[in-house]
């Protein structure tokens, strides 16, 4: 059964990733760039989903992880003159540290208290970016474009703003997140995480140290989000507080729930649909958020498990 579902899901995800890979050759310029962005944001949502979907902890503070990755990368490159690669490594370690420290405090709580603690830490982080504005460039943010050099692949020189680089780096990030998540979930660790979501006290009684597993999920989720933030900053060269605001914490929650919390691929669908929904409706009416609101309500009434969650229940039982 396990082997089988691993094969199934790898095949399924592989198909989607292959489709995304091929899409880049036919997409018109604008959609090419939109899909790059969707893949980056979906990676963020996948990180988010690792916490919500598999341990049941709902966070409203993930913008903190996203922006801690983004800012540590950007400020590292700006002040320490790190290379972009070292910038990303630096941001991964920084967001790992942030999520570890955060987790040690926040995981003393659960349920709505956890929600509020994440919200509060997120706001504190946002305010501290504003407070140390001389160092962080505050509300306006800053552009990295001038400080990123070019790099060489197979003897050819590229810029980070090159659309193909953007697309394939985003795809690479998405692919690695999907693979890592799938493997962890189908491993013993993943089973314990799901057991925690389903019944925390029983898992505890079985002798597992629930705290450490939750901490692991949180740190992985935070680091994923942070690296996604760093890649966003690197490929789209703007770093600003808008990525630390509460709205940017609510977004992955919506994408995840729309796509299906607790399904590995769901966040990708949720992000893509929401992105294009807003993009499309905002051309027709300036009240596009009204339509988004109605869609959310109808969706939650008719597809409470999200898109992939409903798909899994009806057709693809093996979906991770």
């Amino acid at each position: 059964m396990r082997k089988n579902s691993l094969n199934h899901s790898l095949l399924f995800q592989g198909g989607i990733l292959m489709l995304l890979f091929l899409l880049q050759f036919i997409l018109p310029t604008y959609h090419h760039s939109s899909v790059s962005k969707i893949m980056l944001l979906a990676s963020y949502a996948i990180g988010y989903n690792f916490l919500l979907g598999y341990t049941g902890l709902m966070s409203l503070g993930h913008a903190m992880f996203f922006s801690s990755g983004m800012y540590s990368m950007g400020l590292g490159i700006y002040y320490l003159e790190l290379s972009p690669l070292n910038g990303v490594i630096f941001s991964a370690s920084f967001s790992l540290m942030v999520s570890l420290i955060f987790g040690l405090f926040a995981l003393r709580t659960s349920g709505v208290s956890f929600l509020i603690v994440t919200l509060m830490f997120g706001q504190t982080f946002y305010l501290s970016i504003l407070y140390f504005n001389e160092f962080t460039f505050g509300h306006d943010g800053f552009s990295l474009a001038k400080y990123l050099g070019s790099f060489v692949i197979f003897g050819k020189e590229y810029l980070f703003s090159n659309p193909d680089i953007r697309y394939n780096f985003a795809l690479l990030l998405l692919t690695s997140y999907l693979l890592i998540t799938t493997f962890i979930l189908l491993s013993p660790v993943g089973r314990i995480l799901i057991a925690i979501r389903e019944n925390e006290s029983r898992t505890q009684l079985l002798g597992y140290n629930v705290f450490y597993y939750k901490l692991f999920a949180l740190v992985l989720s935070g680091t994923f989000s942070g690296v996604a933030g760093a890649m966003h900053g690197l490929l789209f060269s703007y770093i600003g507080t808008t990525f630390a605001e509460i709205h940017h914490s609510i977004s992955p929650l919506l994408w995840t729930l729309l796509g299906g919390a607790g399904t590995v691929i769901g966040p990708l669908f949720g992000t893509g649909i929401m992105y294009y929904l807003i993009d499309f409706i905002s051309e027709i009416t300036k009240n596009y958020l009204l339509v988004v609101g109605i869609v959310l309500i109808l969706m939650i009434i008719w597809f409470p498990l999200g898109i992939m969650g409903s798909v899994r229940r009806k057709w693809l039982k093996w979906l991770p």
Binding site: M58, F105, A106, R108, T109, S110, V112, S113, L115, I116, V117, L119, M120, F121, Q123, T124, L127, S128, L130, Y131, I246, I250, L253, L254, L257, A261, N287, L289, L290, V292, G293, I294, V295, L296, I297, M299, I300, I301, P304
Partner: protein, 297 residues
Amino acid sequence: MSTWLNDNGPLLFLALLDGTVTAFVLALIALGLSLVFGVMRIVNVAHGELFMLGAVLSWFAFDLTNDPLWGFLTALVLAPVIVGSIAIFSDRFILRKISYHPESTIVATIGLLYVIQQLTLMFFGPEVRPVEAPFYFRIQFPWFGYSGYKLLVAGMSALCLSGVWLLMKRSKLGLYMRATQQDIEIAKTFGVPTQKIYASVFALGGGLAALAGVLVVPIRQADHLMGLEPLLLSFIVVIIGGLGSIRGTIVAAFIIGISDGIISVFYEPTLAKMLATLLVAMVLVLKPGGLYGEDQA
């Protein structure tokens, strides 16, 4: 010490005065959410928008009557009724359909938030509009002046808080509400009409949010984006206070109001907000169930 007091006495006095008023305003805004959260165990993310609706309706009343006092009185009566009806409608056609599932409710009420906010933008516009207070007087202290209406809002808040407290403790509805809060299944077997209780609690929560909007709008202004901040603040107040505890809500409102008042008088404001936010987080980390846990409604 005494010279410090001489220098900072007025500051401290203002911090306490302003902090107390802020606390009462916070408690008032959070009251509806506290009730809904306590009895129904759901988080109404659209709570801030219901507050905003109260404020906006108050502006319409002011605009139509063209008289601060009559506008205020009209809004005081009509806004809670209108918003309460919207709440009943949402309960019947949205929340009941998703069986009050906690996570689904969050998504559904985020949807509701967008709908209310955008409809307001369409009919009210993007402007920030002032509403005149029903009466105006200024209290002159030796060092500075203070708005009399603000003190009235604090008083009204105290009145609402005691009203709800009495309702919970002394009325049949309150008894049903407490029973539903403690265990909905048992309440059902004892013949409590839980479906009706849920609808009334949600309507009452909405009405209180609107009432808070009407009372508070003369000391702020009305605009379609004003709902987010009160939402976050009431969230914090309710959770810190402890699930469904009105006493907790009041105590938490005072801790937050006064600490915010004092910290922001003596520190740089952004730093003050950082410290206050962190303080709230740490209270929860140390007491995950809030100050007044479960059973003390």
